[in-house]
Amino acid sequence: MAFDNTGRNTRRNFLKAVGAGGVAATAGCLSFGDSGGGSGTITLGQPAAQTGDWDFLQPGVSQATDVAVQQINDAGGPLDREIEVQRRDTAVNPQEARSVVTQLVENDDALALMGLFSSEINPLFDFLQEQQTPVVTPWPGSGYLDTRGGDMGTPDNIDDDQWVWRTVIGDTVHTAGGARRALDEGNDTLGVINGNSEGARSWADGFVAAYEEGGGTVAQRVEVSLGQSSYQSALDRLFGSEFSAFAVSIPLEDATTLLSDWSDGGYGRQPILSDPLAQNDLASQVGGDLDGAWAASPGQAGPSFDSFVETYEQGGDAELNGWTPPAWDAMHVTALAIERAGEATPEAIQQNLGPVSRDGGTEVTTFAEGKEALANGEEISYQGAATPTNFTNFGNVFGPVAINVAGGGEFSQEEVIPAEDIRGLVPEDEY
């Protein structure tokens, strides 16, 4: 897909030339961000879920973003300038997201966007392309993005670029890790129960595809709508079939209800949980029946995860969730891209996201290390908290999948499936 980016440049130039006039006067008064081209603060935008369906996940992501910004700025900031994140609520609604993105890009002069969910990105994909601003997001697992986004492996040429990058593993991939383990455990028949939200579905789809690919059979799959007071009927239906374990993909709150119902109903058989469910809250609420259940989680097993957690916990007490480390990674990789580019523009970031993350070059885990290495003229490879952050041509990351097993009211990591093994599960040009 080819996009003409001259329009955008002219627009910015026009703004500089004309200053404020007409609508621009109004907008100008209301615009507080500095223009990104010169010196001064570098503004990044974060479309956020401060209200809406997934708002309970945002505090962790916000905190990770904020501590990352703090750490980057403490290390001198990219190009010795301060980074600032402008966070605006999209309520996880594509309509709101559309105008929030416009506002962040055009009014706040955000050079990159550190957010957006699958349900926002997918229907706005064309629109996002027109923005010609990199979206480096910790959220989406959607299979839609498996073959969309990234720089197509040609960092210098942005004509073929699709401007979406995600620092979280796509569902297609990490579910493959889960599916592999499920098969390894000897489960040749499974039940699947999932919510009908996009995130929950996309995980289940990925898991089922990989599992069936590996030779397993799904005996029964039940979809449920979210927010119900009881999932007993759905469970009854699910367990009407024969299988040895069952996969659960539904947001945490509903999962707690669902698995409590499961525990109460004494249906037995072992749950396999989708990645966001490896939370101690779930284990303690459901109780002993959950012991032995495991989740194949990405995101908490990157090379710099431990140092991330340390910094994170100093920044506040927001709960850590599956998207928290990727948020940290998104911030770092973007800052490093600016540093490497030597200029702060959307195009420069887009062109440098690949080079600062991909294999080859000095491995760095913090911005400070990266800044120093770059100053020494070295190439760098950022090693993230969630994953090693090696962007594929489609802007996706592979990472190790951690198997967290519930026991005694909490989850503990039992096994890590290395990133390389995971990589082998997906053909090169399909992710």
């Binding site: 309970f56 505090p59 799959r221 039940v222 449920v224 009854d236 707690t256």
Partner: protein, 304 residues
């Protein structure tokens, strides 16, 4: 798939809805408004329960009572602030005001209580009845073994208790009889010396108490967050309208219809359609309105 088991699930779901729907329908019948903010009354009740358990701390049953008292008072306060002043303007402005109020409350709760869900710490005991013989018709087992948990029994028990108390209130006490009288003929009620504003206030309190109870029960079974009640409002509303708006007995019947439809459609719809059970409930609502606009219970029902 056992029918008996799913009927029990349906009855449990119906019980939550019924407790709330009675309050909703009384407001409809006596104050003459559809209160769209009513879901938030459940949420507030649940949060008061959580706070009481967590901060004071009181045992759960006492916390539920505290929540009910608090819910009643808040309901009265909100009515005085938002609804009583526009009592005379008719149903549409009242409905729209409640939509606005719901927005305010939901986000106010989110603002003060945060975004993550809270949980009540409870343990459930499961009672099994496995000895029953299957009675199969096709793939459906009409009987079969079933289980019921202590939480489910508490929910159903609370519902039955509420029905009895509300029935007693409405048939044995002056206030309750006056409530029904106002639903019949407000002018005549005034002629009888009934202070209609006081009765309306009582209805608000009662509705708040019931909403809080439903909220706490819902919170025990699921969790408590700013959206807890909002996710239930359409079901509560459907149940009340289905039963014949204004009739508490109809609301009870409507609630169990909705509960059973949700459970049975989830259990027996073709694969791939299990997610649309809520839509089925709405379809039934529309169907009933078309066939019998006055709802299941018709206009006047005395006995359940």
């Amino acid at each position: 798939m056992g029918l008996a088991q799913n009927v029990i699930f349906g009855l449990v779901t119906g019980s939550y809805i019924a407790i709330a729907a009675i309050g909703f329908t009384l407001i409809y019948g006596i104050v003459n408004m559809i209160n769209f903010a009513y879901g938030e009354y459940l949420t507030m009740g649940a949060f008061i329960g959580i706070l009481t358990v967590g901060v004071l701390p009181l045992p759960l049953p006492l916390a539920a009572v505290v929540a009910m008292v608090g819910g009643g008072l808040i309901s009265l306060l909100l009515a005085r602030l938002f609804f009583t002043p526009i009592n005379q303007t008719g149903p549409v402005p009242m409905l729209l005001t409640s939509i606005g109020l719901g927005l305010v409350l939901r986000n106010g709760i989110r603002l003060t209580a945060g975004q993550s869900a809270r949980y009540f710490d409870t343990e459930a005991i499961t009672f099994r009845f496995d000895g029953l013989p299957p009675l199969s018709v096709g793939s459906v087992d009409l009987l079969g073994g079933f289980f019921v948990t202590s939480e489910q029994l508490i929910v159903m028990g609370c519902a039955v208790g509420v029905f009895l108390l509300v029935h007693t209130l409405l048939t044995r006490t002056d206030v309750g009889i006056a409530m029904r009288a106002m639903g019949d003929n407000e002018n005549l009620a005034r002629v009888r010396g009934i202070d209609t504003q006081r009765i309306r206030d009582s209805v608000w309190v009662l509705a708040g108490v019931l909403a809080a109870l439903a909220g706490v029960l819902l919170g025990i079974q699921t969790n408590v967050s700013a959206g807890t009640g909002f996710s239930q409002i359409l079901q509560i509303l459907s149940a009340a309208i289905l039963g014949g708006a204004g009739s508490p007995y109809g609301a009870i019947a409507g609630s169990y219809v909705i509960g059973l439809v949700l459970a049975l459609s989830t259990a027996f719809l073709p694969a791939g359609m299990t997610g649309i059970s809520s839509a089925i409930a709405f379809l039934i609502l529309i169907g009933v309105l078309l066939v019998k606009p006055s709802g299941l219970a018709g206009q006047e029902v005395r006995e359940a």
